[in-house]
Symmetry: C2
Subunit: 223 residues, 2 copies
C-alpha cells in the first residue's frame, strides 16, 4: 500500500538553497511552495521559483508582500546593492532585509496550519553565508518555541515543525546534495541584482561561485 | 527644551483594544500605525483604523496581506462567523486566524528596524478574550526572544521591544483607560461581521458589550 505522504510547506525564493531544500523536502512530503515578491530588485527570483515548483509539479502560492518602509539595499532603489568586496567581514551587510525570515516563516506557519501541513521547510544555512541574524540556528530555535505556544496546533500538542535541512552545510555540500536530488540548478537565480546574467560582483554571486568551484562542478548559469 | 520622543510602531486593527493601545503609546512616543487588510469580513475595521490614525495625526501604513489559504471563519466565505453562544468555553474558536499575530508582529518588527523605532505595541489581552494562543503573555515572551536573536538591532544589543500595555487588563479596565486617554470609541469597530451595525451576536460584540456594561459607560456605537 502506498504510504500517504505528510504535507509540508516550503519557502521557495528561486535561489539554489531553497531549491535544494524543496527537493529534499519532497522526498518524504507532499509539498506546497510559498514564493514571496517583497519588492526585491532581483525580480527574476520569483519567476525562477515558479519554474522550479512547476518542474516538480507541486502547488505554489505567490504572495505579493511589499515592505513599504524598505530598509535594505535589496529593495530600496536609493541604496545600491554592494559589491562583495565592499562588505565588512564580521558585520551585517546592507543587503539584510529587516525581519525577512520572521515574516516568511510566519506566513509559512499560517499556511501550514490552514492546509494541515505539519512542517515548514526553510533553506537557511549558517556557513558560507552573509551573516544575517535570521539565518542562524539560534533564531530558528526561538522561532520554534514561539510557534509552539502561539498557534492552535501548538496548543493542541502538534506544533508545526520548522525544518532547516541545510543549516550546517557548506555551499559546496548544498550543491552536492542538490546534484544527488536532481535539482535543476539552471532554473535557480542567486544574483541580488536584476541583470540578464548574474553580476558576479555581489556577495550572493560570489558565494555561489565559490560553492560550485569547491564542489568541482560547473554552474549551469555561467557556463 | 522639548524632549524628542522615541519612535514606536503600533499594530492598529480598528478595534477598541488597539485604539487604546495606540493612545497609550502616543503619550510617550512618536507613533507609526500598521493597518492590515488580511481579507477579514469586517472590512469596516481598516476604515476605522485609518480614521483613528487620522484623528491622532500620525503616519499609517495600510498593508494588503491576503492569506489565500484562509483557515478561519473570519476570512473564509465558506465558514460562517459563529454566534458567541455556539463557542465552546475552553477551546480555540473558529475565528482563530492561523499565525495572525505572528505575522502582524513580524511586519511590526520589520517596520521598526527600517524606520528606527525601538518598540512595537500590540493591544492583545489575555482576560475577557477569545482564547487565542497568540494573545497570551507566554507567546509574546517567546516572540521577544526570537526578535532578540533574529534581527540586526537584536544582534547590536538594541532589540526592538514588544510592548503589550493592556495584556493583563479586563475589557472594562481597557475601556476606563481609553476614556482617560480620550480614545474616540465611536471610531472603533469590534464586530466580526460586516453589517451596518454591530451584530451583537458574535463573541467580539459580546465581549465589548460586557466591557462597557462593567465599566458603567454607554458604548457610542450602540447608543
Amino acid at each position: 500500500m502506498k504510504k500517504v505522504k505528510n504535507k509540508a510547506v516550503v519557502l521557495l525564493s528561486g535561489g539554489m538553497d531553497s531549491a535544494v531544500t524543496l527537493y529534499a523536502a519532497a522526498q518524504e512530503n507532499d509539498c506546497t511552495a510559498l514564493i514571496f515578491d517583497y519588492g526585491q530588485k532581483s525580480s527574476k527570483e520569483t519567476g525562477c521559483a515558479k519554474e522550479i515548483s512547476k518542474a516538480l509539479g507541486i502547488n505554489a502560492f505567490l504572495l505579493d508582500i511589499s515592505l513599504p518602509w524598505k530598509g535594505s539595499a535589496l529593495i530600496d532603489d536609493l541604496r545600491e546593492v554592494p559589491r562583495a568586496s565592499t562588505i565588512a567581514g564580521a558585520g551585517i551587510p546592507d543587503t539584510y532585509v529587516p525581519g525577512r525570515n520572521i515574516i516568511f516563516l510566519s506566513y509559512g506557519v499560517s499556511c501550514a496550519e490552514a492546509i494541515g501541513a505539519d512542517a515548514v521547510f526553510i533553506g537557511a544555512h549558517q556557513l558560507d553565508f552573509s551573516n544575517y541574524p535570521d539565518c542562524r540556528s539560534e533564531f530558528f530555535d526561538h522561532f520554534r518555541e514561539t510557534v509552539g505556544v502561539g498557534t492552535k496546533t501548538g496548543a493542541d500538542g502538534n506544533s508545526i515543525k520548522i525544518v532547516t535541512p541545510i543549516i550546517d552545510l557548506k555551499k559546496s555540500e548544498i550543491i552536492e546534495m542538490g546534484m544527488e536530488l536532481g535539482v535543476p540548478f539552471e532554473l535557480t537565480w542567486s544574483c541580488y541584482r536584476n541583470g540578464e546574467e548574474p553580476c558576479m560582483e555581489c556577495e550572493s554571486c560570489l558565494l555561489r561561485a565559490k560553492g560550485f568551484a569547491e564542489a568541482g562542478v560547473p554552474d549551469p548559469l555561467v557556463v
